[in-house]
């Protein structure tokens, strides 16, 4: 099915606008990348941008560690620069590295896993990438203006208002985060619609790969959590620009409101950071243990439980802010309750390893490292839930150790596992095992050497975010140990980048399925063609590709007679009746939408508007005497002050309008006839193969009809499982009756 024998025929131009806004057909080179709306190219763009910001964040981390390596050391960077470093390190690593890396996989892998040709709204997908790109550039431009944000990545309120953070540094942070917020929400809306509405025929919710499930839950968390931070950023922006009184204690306002609204977003945010890597690890462990995931519905159920309960625990970040005993005790209990589903996930991962054939390749090493370190991070997290001792731990290096264990040990190790696992599918080349292993061991030892001593530093009373510390506290030698560990981690990251470049240049080619995978994305060639699937695949069960390759594995269970709930024997017996539904090869071939400039233009406009808001001139361009003499009406002052922002906003709005006027455009792909025959042969073969499998009445997999409603409505996923089973039971009984007639 090579791509040469496919004919590309541009769609006929339809209306008046098509001449003004023609949609290019697969342009190559830079324009191809700037106007791309193909989910694979956007995924690669996210990956490359995130890996670039990863270098910047890593550099900031190294400079922090050099500054802290010995007591009363003040001649590496000034105090203000140090504050800028750790603020930008936090903001960059969370918003510009780990989230976009996860979104890169959402973009690239999720559509392939559900057998879709692209996401639901391709141009909106490109728009959310460009908003992310311009937002990240906007925040980091502040370094060039010498006014990088220096109020810590949480930006607590009295410090961030215009009296204590004068100048533009606060505005860069506030406006930059709002633009990144819009990008995340728009992206999440797109992913949920894709997962809910564009699954391959036969792929019910309980047959979706776990990574896709985690994408769905993370995207739901994003759309419900980001509005909270948008509101407190808007309120802070009004406080900074128009001197309103939201966080002004003298006017009756409560600065604590910022902390509440920030952490209402903050805690779901940390689950947004950890759930995708959990999904990746849940994909990798079964493949490299060569056995199915242990307790699939419970992994999915606990993911949903973690997601939903994430909204009930936010004040454990604020136990020391004096909320009263009842609130502190209540939130301590809800935080402990969240440890149970997390525990379930860890048990199920280890259960997958039990009695498996563990192939120790690089993704597996990272996944095992993930399990161990995420467990360590989970325990120090449990210690924070203990609100009594949290008064000692809060804002100390114990907290720094905890969240680095879950963010680097958890999210980053999981994401590296994902990169090594799906790199062959994305580029068609294998990353080298030896360099991968060297990188793993450097990172693993360096990471533990850096962040485990911080537990002791934290318990020894070292507070967070301090530029330097007194010799009397004798924290010096432990900090030196941490700094050396950081050097090891830097070496590991350098090895990783060298490995990426060398493999991209001259890596050894690999087939479509290098790791003997289980999910649908390993059935298509790597790198996958533009249209992903020639015919949308027909999915019979969870890990469908695995049962196609090893039909007999469907019955090797502890006790043979028990039918495997996941291999849908019945529908695989006669797939033909599904065929017509599956392949909607209408007469003009596969329709692929064309590239479009407007996501880029709209995003650039809104970012320019943001820049205009940051660089507003409070005097509105009037001279001091004029202002002293005349009193300028409020509206004209507003327009004069934000004229640059209005220009940017106008470009953005016009971009969106033109985007909506754009024709469908694009092109149709046709395959010549002999391929048609080859296509149908493949279908016949799979029918023969499945007939050969022993004939056994398999319980029809509980196809939950309204899974998203159940999953979304009922808090506890287990309850919905039993409800689905009862419904299933009576449906099954009448299906049996039908068979007997």
């Amino acid at each position: 099915m090579s791509s040469e024998n496919m004919r590309i025929e541009p769609a006929p131009e339809v209306g008046f606008f098509d001449k003004i806004f023609p949609r290019q057909v697969q342009p190559s080179g830079l324009i191809g990348w700037l106007t791309t709306i193909d989910h694979k190219r956007i995924g690669i763009l996210y990956l490359v941008t995130a890996l670039f910001w990863f270098l910047v964040g890593g550099l900031e981390a190294i400079m922090i560690r050099i500054q802290l390596h010995k007591p009363e050391y003040q001649d590496f960077v000034s105090a203000e620069t140090y504050n800028q470093l750790f603020t930008m390190h936090g903001t960059t690593m969370i918003f510009l590295v780990i989230m976009p890396l996860a979104v890169a996989f959402f973009n690239y892998i999720m559509p392939l896993q559900i057998g879709a040709r692209d996401v639901a709204f391709p141009r909106m997908n490109a728009f959310s990438y460009w908003m992310f790109f311009f937002g990240s550039v906007l925040i980091n431009i502040s370094w060039l203006f010498g006014e990088a944000p220096n109020m810590s990545w949480v930006g607590y309120s009295p410090l961030t208002n215009s009296t204590y953070t004068p100048g533009h540094s606060g505005d860069f942070w506030v406006v930059g985060l709002q633009i990144l917020g819009v990008s995340s929400i728009v992206g999440a809306l797109n992913f949920i619609t894709t997962i809910v509405n564009m699954r391959a025929p036969g792929m019910t919710f309980m047959r979706m790969p776990v990574f896709t499930w985690m994408t769905l839950i993370t995207a739901l968390l994003v759309i419900l959590a980001f509005p909270a931070i948008t509101i407190c950023l808007v309120e802070l922006m009004f406080d900074r620009l128009f001197h309103t009184n939201f966080f002004e204690a003298s006017a009756g306002g409560l600065p604590i409101l910022w902390q509440h609204l920030f952490w209402v977003f903050g805690h779901p945010e940390v689950y947004i950071l950890i759930l995708p890597p959990m999904g990746m690890v849940s994909e990798i462990l079964p493949v490299f243990s060569r056995k199915p995931l242990f307790g699939y519905p419970l992994i999915v159920g606990s993911g949903a439980a973690i997601g939903f309960m994430g909204f009930t625990v936010w004040t454990h970040h604020m136990f020391t802010s004096g909320m009263g005993n009842i609130a502190t005790a209540a939130f301590a209990l809800t935080t402990m309750a969240i440890a149970v589903p997390t525990g379930v996930k860890i048990f199920n991962w280890i259960g997958t390893l039990y009695k498996g054939q563990l192939v120790m390749s690089v993704p597996m090493l990272f996944a095992l490292g993930f399990i161990y370190q995420f467990m360590m991070g989970g325990f120090s997290g449990l210690m924070h839930a203990n609100a009594v001792h949290d008064l000692q731990q809060h804002d100390s290096y114990f907290v720094v150790a905890h969240f680095h264990y879950v963010l680097i040990g958890g999210a980053l190790f999981g994401t590296f596992a994902g990169i090594y696992y799906w790199f062959p599918k994305v580029t068609g080349k294998m990353l080298s095992e030896s360099r991968g292993k060297a990188m793993f061991w450097f990172l693993f030892i360096g990471f533990n050497l850096t962040f485990f001593p911080m537990h002791w530093l934290g318990l020894n009373g070292m507070p967070r975010r301090i530029y330097t510390y007194a010799a009397r506290n004798d924290w010096g030698d432990l900090n030196l140990l941490c700094s050396c560990g950081a050097i090891l981690m830097a070496i590991a990251v350098i090895i990783f980048y060298i490995d990426l470049f060398m493999t991209a240049k001259a890596g050894k080619a690999c087939g479509p399925d290098p790791w003997d995978g289980r999910t649908v994305e390993w059935t298509i060639p790597s790198p996958p063609p533009v249209y992903n699937f020639k015919e949308t695949p027909l999915v019979h069960s969870l890990d469908d590709f695995w049962y196609k390759k090893y039909p007999e594995s469907a019955h090797i269970d502890e006790h043979d007679d028990e039918e495997s709930p996941y291999y849908d024997e019945e529908s695989s017996m006669h797939p033909s009746d599904h065929v017509d539904h599956g392949h909607h090869h209408d007469e003009h071939g596969i329709h692929m939408p064309g590239g479009s400039w407007f996501p880029l233009i709209a995003a650039f406009g809104f970012a320019l508007g943001g820049f205009g808001i940051i660089m507003n001139d409070p005097t509105g361009g009037y001279s001091a005497e004029y202002l002293a003499e005349y009193d300028v009406p409020a509206l004209t002052m507003l327009v004069h002050r934000f004229k640059f922002a209005l220009v940017g906003g106008l470009i953005g709005v016009l971009g969106v309008f033109a985007w909506s006027m754009e024709p469908i455009g694009g092109y149709n792909i046709h395959f010549d006839d002999e391929d048609e025959k080859a296509g149908t042969e493949a279908v016949k073969e799979s029918k023969k193969a499945s007939k050969k499998a022993a004939k056994e009445a398999a319980k029809v997999e509980p196809a939950a009809t309204e899974p998203a409603k159940e999953e979304a409505k009922s808090e506890d996923a287990e309850a919905s499982e039993d409800k689905a089973d009862e419904k299933e039971a009576d449906k099954e009984s009448d299906s049996e009756k039908k068979e007997e007639e």
């Binding site: 209402v264 004040t315 609130a327 309204e706 409603k709 979304a712 409505k713």
Partner: protein, 150 residues
């Protein structure tokens, strides 16, 4: 396949249904506002809050169920919207409860007890104060001579 006419008829009955809903909404809004005026104003605070809450909830559900067709649309939409509402309303209630712990500032501009306000207005008017300084007339003011003891 339902043929042309009954679709016509059905949509007409739909229009009638919408008109009735709109009327009900109008009536509920009227009742809500009347809660402030004397005959209902004498009810206790708790009763009034419950009544207002109930009326607002019915209006909310009427618009969501009928005008937004959520009643006989795919349950997926109901699931999405109720998820957003549960977390949104839950966070709102939790935040307001959490913030009730913080005392109001002493120099906060007091919410004058309703009958003192009446005295204040009456006194100023009698002393020839410039009446439209309080241009806004509180609703129970419109019926002179009514003393609301709250």
């Amino acid at each position: 396949m339902h043929h042309e006419e009954d679709k016509e008829v059905r949509s007409l009955s739909q229009v009638a249904k919408y008109t009735i809903t709109a009327l009900i909404l109008g009536i509920i809004t009227a009742i809500e506002v009347l809660v402030l005026y004397p005959p209902l104003a004498y009810a206790g605070d708790g009763v009034k809050i419950a009544l207002l809450g109930f009326l607002a909830l019915t209006k909310f559900i009427l618009v969501v169920a009928l005008f937004m067709h959520l009643w006989h649309d795919n349950p997926l939409f109901t699931g999405i919207f109720t998820l957003g509402m549960i977390i949104g309303a839950g966070t709102l209630v939790a935040l307001v409860a959490l913030f009730s712990y913080y005392p109001k500032p002493e120099n906060a501009v007091k919410h004058p007890p309703l009958d003192d306000m009446y005295e204040m207005r009456y006194k100023e008017k009698s002393e020839g104060a410039d009446y439209d300084k309080h241009a806004m007339v509180a609703p129970w003011e419109s019926v002179p001579g009514v003393r609301v003891t709250v």
